[in-house]
Symmetry: D2
Subunit: 155 residues, 4 copies
């Protein structure tokens, strides 16, 4: 029998959003494109609940700014749920570039808001290679004109 | 502060594989296509470690066979890691169809095998609508000519 | 000023279809998956209208069978048009594998049927490298349980 | 026997490019992201060579500016060919939004430069519905910091 999957928080992301472009009912559904203007990625210092605060050494050095030019190409489903599909690029303090893609769902029900994405990184940086070698998920919190994610590695 | 994400095991999947077709070094990289011949999805009866065994009521009724005709279009990276991209269709006991797509990674290191995927379902079945409304991840175990997944809902 | 694009017919394709699986109104729209059971690719001996029949030397040797296991993952739009997204693999007489993806549209109006796709090939075969280095389009004719394409290279 | 496909020029596109971000050798290959800063789409007044100049009535009204925020996520292949994958959004004089995606190839050989893409439009504008109902291809000419396309409908 396999062991349960575990989640390790590895970074926080803040994404700054511009004014959404609402294309309306296109061939793919109700398309809405939200520009990504900037933001930040920071290696996490969060520890799993009930454990001591342990800094994940792989992510200690991750401090990156999100470059303008990204976007979230959403589809607004008939039931009101939003299919998220965001792409953007970040640049680390050391000058390395990291591509980020988040795909997931945001929906509001009487139980609250469910906003979860799968996260895919691509980078040629040797020190960040783990970002390409693992699967990541994140929650999402929408605040005014920004989204805040905590990203977890699936271990 | 957001609460930690939690994982709820919701179903087990067994995927039966055919002989892989190795296309070699194509424009996209080393492409390998593994046919999916059959298999099965079953609603999970697994409970998180340390809790009592609780059957997730949403998934109790899920029992489906995987139809032949799917495939896993893998890319074998230069470092030996395999990018997984599988699509297949399952049919429930009640006759409903469920599309499944798994995207992720399988790599072997001195620490063992890391085989994790994000799972995306699509279905028009009212009783399975939660499969479209949530994010799912899974581990993977390769055994001879099959892959075994435990699929978790990201809560 | 750029010259007009020209089209060079390079091969004919016959795709044998199985019974479609109709998933109904899923998160992505009305999804229908048609299995691809077999078929054939043959290098064209067709010349542009008004010119002498010239055999394109690059394609003279292309003779391949389509392997079972492919599929066309269609979306049936509200206006009745069908978004085509087919993937399959063919094997040449020489044993080389060629991946094929066709993306396009089939719709019926009072002017007749419009069935056109963009075609993308991937192969590691040196003799077929032109298939990876050019853009291709095709018409489509649906006949009972098969589709017939003439594929053109965009020159 | 099917008739030959024909191409009808329908619009010209000018895409203004920013400084490319070179991610280097990522998991997907050598990734380079070129920001799209602006540009323009104009309904074509070009007629096929050898025919009289006929203005395509469907496209007479198309005059749109490309909004900043798009990008071309290229992969630079080992043989030097570039896989193009650009997405951007344009806004017409009438205020309608049109999403554009171009996928194709640019490569340089002793025969010159081959730069061809398949073009996919999405829009909810009734007057531009033909953009969603047909297949389009384009050539491309790179000039300093811009790309110039002539887009053809595949008839």
């Amino acid at each position: 029998m396999a062991e349960m999957l575990t989640l390790t928080p590895v970074c926080e992301v803040i994404v700054e959003l511009g004014e959404p472009l609402d294309l309306g009912a296109t061939r793919d559904g109700n398309r809405r494109i939200t520009p990504i203007l900037g933001g930040e990625l920071r290696g996490a210092r969060i520890a799993p609940v009930g454990e001591e605060h342990v800094v994940d050494r792989n992510y200690l050095d991750l401090r990156a700014v999100i470059l303008p030019g990204g976007s979230d190409r959403q589809l607004v489903r008939a039931d009101g749920a939003i299919e998220i599909d965001a792409r953007y690029t970040a640049q680390t303090d050391g000058g390395h570039l990291v591509g980020v893609r988040t795909v997931g769902i945001r929906r509001v029900s009487h139980d609250g808001t469910y906003f979860r994405v799968a996260v895919r990184f691509e980078t040629a940086s040797q020190s960040l290679t783990d970002l390409q070698d693992s699967i990541f998920i994140a929650d999402g919190i929408r605040e005014r004109s920004m989204v805040r994610h905590v990203v977890y590695r699936v271990d």
